[in-house]
Symmetry: C2
Subunit: 200 residues, 2 copies
Amino acid sequence: MPDREAAQDQALKAAEELFYSRGIQAVGMDAVRNASGLSLKRLYQLFPSKEALVLEFLDRRDRRWRQALAHHVDARTTPEDQVVAVFEWLHTWFSEPGYRGCAFINSFGELGGISPEVAARARRHKQAFRDYLVALVTATGRPAALGDQLVLLAEGAITTAAITGTSQPATQARDAARLLMLAYSRDNGERPDVSQQTGE
Amino acid sequence: MPDREAAQDQALKAAEELFYSRGIQAVGMDAVRNASGLSLKRLYQLFPSKEALVLEFLDRRDRRWRQALAHHVDARTTPEDQVVAVFEWLHTWFSEPGYRGCAFINSFGELGGISPEVAARARRHKQAFRDYLVALVTATGRPAALGDQLVLLAEGAITTAAITGTSQPATQARDAARLLMLAYSRDNGERPDVSQQTGE
DNA sequence: TACAGTAGAGAACGATGGTTCTCCAGGCAA
DNA sequence: TTGCCTGGAGAACCATCGTTCTCTACTGTA
């Protein structure tokens, strides 16, 4: 029998391509079969159901995505640079052909309301990203609250880039991130005053 | 014959409830029939296909959403307050029971890859929101670039609130927005320096 | 050569979905 | 009253989907 692991890899590669580009419900197991070159029988030997394939697809994507991000960030030396590198990496991601947003946001929107498992994967993925970014931010000596704000910039850039079809949001988010880092830098005190300076 | 307009309203109300909470493909026309109290025959008299119903649902949601936002913002007097009011409105939106993110982001993720019409509605909706927010920002005397950054904060808050199930992202986004408005205020010059202050 | 086990190709099956059709009840003009 | 139109309820129809089954070909072994 051909290597089980290799076959799983083939299936998941095909599934990722299809699920990401067309959405999950729009892709039948027949399409996965054609794209992967595996037989339906083999597919169901490797994954007991489509749901299982979907969850594996998400897990695999989560791992790869975070690895790719960390790899890019690790190339930088200072903590500040590492934070900025997150947004630079977003830019290269957005520029990939076929970029269509975050697979977790997309599958949450599509299936989060009817599949608790899918919703949980999305939560886990976003939580991991948040923890990662907050760690980078606190390494610069700035508060976790800034990390949460940068998460919002990154998430906003991800969906805006997908819908508008440009990678510009990454640059805008990076610039905003730099301003916020400046606002939270020691020169301005650890806790910039956001209380009502605009009136009300 | 019962009022055509009233029947359409009934159908759209039911469709919105179902599509938003469960996703579009997961909701059959049978479910819309049951929820709306209309017969299938009547439904197909009012909308030639499910696709037409979906597009009408999106158009209607776009109108209502922007109206609700504008209504909240209009209650404020100063331009700065109006910008902040956007994020306060997000907070009340996120706090609604059954909040599950932006219907346009969700349907873009679900159908954007296979339905150009749905993708176009998402683009239009986001473009309108962007234009609105940029107009509010430029009314304060600040550059449009800040508006784009605030859009990212808002979009990020929308999806983060949906996936985490909290309304806290609205507050975080509002605080970040205040800091960015401060950074762009006349005291700091019209164009804050974001060039490489973090090195590299 | 005979045989057991595995895999591939694709038909088959049961469920569901979008869409249409049938049949019947009720209102209303002549 | 009679005939006609509209609408409701739901069956019917056809395609698709997830999943399983059948049949055949092949490989390795005694």
